[in-house]
């Protein structure tokens, strides 16, 4: 399953780091962050609850880039 979330982040490199962090979160199959449109598309693994996974994604993103936001 794929879902798209609006995000807020200031620099392109930070967006790359968010993408990396999201990809490495458990339950996430793949993630793409589009800095130009400020959107994050997350593909979840089968049987995972997106809401729970996204909480983890947000936590991991905050770790690598303090100044980011994902609008869940």
């Amino acid at each position: 399953m794929k879902k798209t979330y609006k995000i807020d982040v200031d620099c392109a490199n930070c967006a790359n780091k968010m993408e990396e962090a999201a990809k490495n979160t458990a339950g996430v199959k793949d993630a793409v962050v589009n800095f130009m449109t400020l959107k994050m598309t997350v593909e979840f693994e089968e049987g995972k609850e997106p809401k729970e996974v996204m909480q983890e994604v947000l936590k991991n993103c905050k770790k690598v880039e303090d100044d980011c936001e994902i609008f869940l």
């Binding site: 200031d10 620099c11 392109a12 490199n13 793409v32 130009m36 959107k39 690598v64 303090d66």
Partner: protein, 622 residues
């Protein structure tokens, strides 16, 4: 500027003023340090905070950390002005970047501002504005002059001229009347329209296009992936380099060469290293170039589904076309009347009237060529002979219109035609009256399109068609296409494209151009599939990688030129940014470059790269 940017702007002004004033004051020692800490903290508190948090989260090597270390280092070394200045220029750079990115983001979205905000529904004689998302299929919506058509549908009442330029990039107006299909995103120019919707808002053309363009930059190109990989190694590498530069040379000088270590000098050099090390110029300008390129292209009616496709398109050397609907109009028109004894118009009149009962495309084109209203009452005794043609009486005169078999059947001598196309032989009053040639005509820009492709460096143009050999070869000759394969079934087209794929070199890419109706397999098999005339055709938008909204073949070359320009800018930025940084790193290591040059290498390069990237948006004149 938004609120966040304004705040930074104010901080920049305050810091700049304080820095200039303090650097002129004749104060020395601790007081001077205390004074300079004021602007330093004003401009840098958030960077310091982020750097600290980064360390806590074990994300040491980010640019906040680099800036914090470099500036604190400079201040410790006593270069107060430089310490503040580095932070100041870093913030100016960040502000500019966020402003430029925000601006181009808005610019591009404005270009694509075809999203309708509402739909009008008539209730109890009054118009009511509703959210287009809530309109169900089959609802009658009202579109007034000046408004956008919000949802795809069929005209139920009224007629008007539509401006499709937001979708196609062409300002050629389109006339519609009752029964015609209209696609969302067009602007109604003259009359009031009532439209019966045939799709939901989310499935309508305008929503699909917006979705496509907005998501297009998510499919990342090789260059983008290269840059993010590069950035991942580059920053740590430079940091370790800086550390080595700060420690090794003084140690070597002290222990081996027996000289004074000059710690201050080497640490200063290491700090300039850190300032140069931020990869932002690259990381921001490459996706921005692609985004601008895709935005510029969509303004011209060329939708590119991803940065990776833009990259492939730029490497295209082989272009393979479908014939019908791509190079030709796919509608049949009368292209000549031969061996006629009576006047051409009279003969066409007879033909059109005799065939008036038929809905065959041939009879439609005869009626179009005749150009006047058909008075059916003039036609009697119509007899359709399947596979042969029609006999009828027009104004009481017996007329036969059909192929050679019909003439043989009626025992009338006829003349063969040596032109290519469908021939309608005519007999009036039992005597041969000439024949009418009907053929698929070339698109007006077809020839120019092939030429401009050759001009753009396409090495091979190939045409594939299911049509007869003589037709195909005539078209190919007329258009100056180098290779042609005819009488192909849809499956044969795939095989042919596969053969061509084998022939070409590794770095050369093959593009297939079709009208998207029955060539979906070929579109997906080619390196890049281009569908044209896609306005209103969902299948084409789904199957292709690049979609030309109108059916002008000149846009193929244009799309290739846009992609080349975009890729040229991408490479310019990669070489330019990496080149300057490496040069400054070397100069910094040798002690020639000071902190000011390092600031240029960081902020200056980024500003220039962003400005260069925005150039990709301007593709009108290509």
């Amino acid at each position: 500027m938004n609120k966040k940017q304004k705040k930074v702007f104010v901080r920049i002004i305050i810091t700049a003023v304080l820095m200039i004033v303090f650097s002129q004051l004749p104060i020395e020692g601790w007081l001077r340090l205390a004074l300079f800490l004021i602007p330093y903290l004003v401009i840098g508190y958030d960077i310091l905070k982020k750097a600290f948090k980064g360390i806590l989260n074990r994300q040491v090597f980010d640019e906040n950390f680099l800036m914090a270390v470099a500036t604190i280092g400079a201040i410790v070394l006593g270069s107060y002005t430089e310490g503040v200045a580095v932070m100041l220029f870093y913030q100016i750079g960040e502000l500019f970047q966020s402003y430029a990115v925000g601006k181009s983001r808005r610019n591009i979205s404005e270009l694509m501002d075809i999203r309708p905000d509402y739909a009008n529904i008539e209730r109890d004689g009054k118009l009511e504005k509703v959210d287009p998302d809530e309109v169900e299929i089959g609802t009658i919506i009202v579109v007034q002059p000046g408004e956008k058509v919000p949802i795809d549908g069929i005209v139920a009442e009224g007629s008007t001229t539509l401006n499709t330029s937001a979708l196609t990039g062409e300002s050629l107006p389109r006339e519609v009347t009752v029964g015609d299909e209209v696609v969302s995103g067009c602007i109604n120019m003259t009359g009031v329209l009532k439209i019966e919707t045939t799709k939901e808002f989310g499935e309508s053309t305008v929503s699909k296009i917006l979705d496509l363009v907005e998501n297009s930059s998510s499919k990342k190109s090789k260059s983008e992936n290269f840059i993010s990989k590069f950035a991942r190694y580059y920053t740590p590498a430079v940091c370790y380099g800086a550390l080595a530069l700060a420690v090794l040379p003084p140690v070597v000088r002290m222990l081996i060469l027996g000289l004074t270590p000059e710690w201050g000098d080497w640490i200063y050099r290491a700090l300039t290293f850190l300032v140069i090390s931020c990869p932002c110029a690259l990381v921001i300008s490459i996706p921005l170039s692609f985004f601008a390129g895709i935005g510029g292209a969509s303004r011209e009616g060329v939708l590119v589904k991803g940065s990776n496709y833009l990259e492939t398109l730029a490497q295209t050397k082989y272009v393979v076309f479908d014939k019908t609907g791509t190079m030709t109009q796919g509608v049949f028109e009368v292209s000549g009347v031969h061996h006629n004894k009576m006047e051409e118009e009279k003969l066409l009149e007879y033909a059109a009237l005799a065939e008036s009962a038929s809905s065959h495309p041939i009879s439609k084109s005869l009626q179009r060529a005749y150009g006047k209203a058909i008075d059916r009452s003039r036609v009697t005794d119509v007899e359709e002979i399947s596979g042969n043609g029609v006999t009828a009486k027009v104004d009481g005169v017996p007329v036969a219109a059909g192929n050679a078999k019909l003439m043989e059947r009626l025992g009338i001598d006829y003349q063969e035609c040596h032109h290519v196309g469908t021939i309608v032989h005519m007999a009036v009053n039992g005597e041969y009256a000439g024949h009418i040639l009907i053929s698929d005509i070339l698109k007006p820009n077809a020839k120019a399109a092939i030429q401009s492709l050759k001009h753009a460096g396409i090495t091979k143009t190939v045409m594939l068609t299911g049509d007869a050999k003589n037709v195909a070869e005539q078209v190919a000759k007329e258009l100056d296409i180098s290779e042609v394969y005819s009488e192909l079934l849809p499956a044969d087209k795939v095989t042919k494209v596969e053969e061509l794929l084998q022939q070409k070199g590794e770095k050369e890419k093959l593009a297939f151009v079709g009208d998207g109706i029955n060539d979906a397999p070929v579109l997906s098999r080619a390196d890049i599939g281009i569908a044209m005339g896609a306005l209103g055709s969902d299948a084409a938008i789904e199957a292709a990688d690049v979609v030309l909204m109108d059916d002008d073949p000149l846009k193929i070359a244009k799309a290739i030129k846009i992609s080349r320009k975009c890729l040229r800018i991408v490479y310019e930025n990669i070489y330019f940014a990496i080149g300057i940084k490496v040069l400054c790193l070397i100069l910094g290591a040798l002690g020639i470059a000071n902190m000011w040059l390092a600031i240029f290498a960081d902020v200056g390069v980024m500003v220039l790269a962003v400005l260069n990237a925005i150039r990709a948006l301007f593709v009108k004149k290509l």
